[in-house]
Amino acid sequence: MSVLELRNLHVTYRTEGGLVPAVRGVNLVLEEGDTVGLAGESGCGKSTIAAAVLRLLPRGTEVTGAVLLDGEDVYSMKPGRLRAVRWTGAAIVFQGALHSLNPVRRVGQQIEEAIVLHSSQAAHSAHSARSARARVGELLERVGIPAANADRYPHQMSGGQRQRVLIALALACDPKVLIADEPTTALDVMVQAQVLALLEELQREHGLSLLFITHDLSVLTHTCQRLAVMYAGRIVEEGSSSEVFTHPQHPYSRALTAAFPTIGDLASRMNPRGLAGDPPDPSALPAGCSFHPRCAVATPECTTVDIALRQVAVGRRAACVHVGVPA
């Protein structure tokens, strides 16, 4: 049974300006031990998916379809069950650690909070406090931070250290699924490599399933086995990460991979390639294929017909009229 499954997920925000469809029919399956990357830019809906998994969306947001954690639909759970599942079933490592950590509490306390919230009620309070603290120390060491640093405040740590704290926090309750939402954006290249290596190690050790969300496609090829590219609330291409990165089928994926040139590749030397236009505004999507205004190979059909994912090869799909056969 899959650890995490998104079935025809639609998420629509209610705003002053009207309804904004952020996610429009996403299907995704994570088996145990899988590492899947979700790539896309601003407005594509990837962060919405991260929040949707744990029902962290703003009140009033319309969600249709199903989010199944270990077979259970998150949106049919009663509040008690939901609270129990949050963090123990799936946990999120957020981006921008300075904003995700409470600046006026010590980092050790914040991790402890997560542990204590989910500990069994029957345990004696003094004993569980001690064991919680011990666990905090363990977690920090696991992510490469000396246990003594539990007494530090977030602002006393560097960006890389804070990100590690967030990872430790996410692992506090031994979740099955780890969702990492842009965990390395805003970090220096070397620190990013350290954090990615850590994630890979932890994933292997604990048999975690990892959903890695980012706009940096190249990062995903190292960390994830499978890759899905999102655009305007939909998945437009998916397959094994190396395949998608080296042989992108959808014009958008092609542009995205070209944006991160391979150093040493003479084709990209003095040849920066990008897409005209801007990522679409979810509240004002173009008719037909939402990518067509920026597409170099758009056909008249593309302006009226919204293309669904089509089969290109085994385990390989892309939503473009030029590729494959209808799935």
């Binding site: 290249v189 620190v191 490599a193 706009h215 940096d216 150093i263 040493g264 990209s268 920066p272």
Partner: protein
């Protein structure tokens, strides 16, 4: 004789009363029509360096000359800022939210009292930056534009003054991946049409590969390696550059060398070679085996010209040459 646009000689910039050596003896020359990428991680001093070129940071030591004229203080600064322009790191913050796009572009023209029909100059600048038809943008406000469009406005405003040197601080870091290429291509196009020189500060080596003629790698306030982009990026000589390139996801054929430790703090510069605490050559013992380990710990290496333009500041490299 090469036409040098800007020349930095032994530049030092300090903060906190001399405690923090943000830029620690840097020398660099940029020729006309040349694009130099200044790469390094946070705290290496690259932003401080370009700010000092445009006179936003005072020099503690050394000199900077732009087109033969020294960068000083006071009146000379205004004339300097006609020839050197800068694009800052955050396109949204760089535009006054209460000024229209027209005013944002016209501001520089007015400050320097540029002759000509102002509306035409503004429209030309916007069109050259890819915002067409220019008229449609004149009355808009920054919050009505996307990140990429704002960056184009800033580039238009800078290039409207026809500077000889453009300083770009992380020009595409906050932009969506799919439009980075467009902005970078735009910047390169100005080199072709206006002959402007560009110093692009970035941590993104892929950007350097895309648009730079030369690459200078900075670490803790010092340039540790500089040379033609193809050489530095494909055959790096300094252990730091090698490690940096090895962890860039977009590289092929290099084994990952993840350095331990944090990005260093410029208020605590190590003795000897400033990279030595994190250098894999010292950590593996190879440096000592080959006999220059003590030099790494005790002596601060200088950039020494090799055969050609590819210079490195590293004892290991000197030892290999000897």
């Amino acid at each position: 004789m090469t036409d040098t646009v800007v020349s930095l000689v032994n530049v030092r910039v300090q903060f906190g009363g001399g405690r923090v050596h943000a830029v620690d003896t840097v020398s660099l020359e940029v020729g006309r029509g040349e694009v130099v990428a200044l790469v390094g991680e946070s705290g290496c001093g690259k932003t401080t360096l370009i700010r000092s070129i445009i006179g936003l940071e005072p020099l503690a030591h050394g000199s900077i000359t732009v087109e033969g004229r020294p960068v000083g203080r006071g009146r000379g600064l205004r004339a300097l800022r006609r020839r050197v322009q800068m694009i800052f790191q955050d396109p949204s913050g760089s535009l006054n939210p209460r000024h229209s796009i027209y005013e944002a572009v016209a501001e520089g023209l007015r400050i320097h009292k540029v002759k000509g029909h102002e509306p035409t100059l503004v429209a030309e600048a916007l069109a050259a930056a890819g915002l067409r038809p220019a008229e449609r943008y004149l009355r808009r406000f920054p919050h009505e534009l996307s990140g990429g469009q704002r960056q184009r406005v800033l580039i238009a405003a800078a290039m409207a003054l026809q500077p000889a040197l453009l300083l770009a601080d992380e020009p595409v870091a906050s932009l969506d991946a799919s439009i980075r290429g467009e902005i970078l291509a735009l910047m390169r196009s100005y080199v072709d049409t206006h002959g402007v020189s560009i110093i692009a500060v970035t941590h993104d080596l892929g950007l350097a590969w895309n648009i730079a003629d030369r690459v200078a790698v900075m670490y803790l306030g010092r340039i540790v390696e500089v040379g033609p982009a193809e050489d530095v990026l494909r055959a790096p000589k300094h252990p730091y550059t090698q490690a940096l390139l090895s962890v860039v996801p977009e590289i092929e054929g290099m084994e990952q060398q993840i350095l331990t430790g944090e990005t260093p703090d410029p208020s605590r510069v190590p003795s000897g070679c400033r990279f030595h605490p994190r250098c894999p050559l010292l950590a593996s013992g190879e440096a000592d085996r080959l006999g220059f380990g003590d030099r790494c710990r005790g002596v601060d290496p200088e950039l020494e010209p090799e055969v050609g333009a590819h210079q490195v500041a590293c004892h290991a490299v000197y030892a290999a040459l000897a």
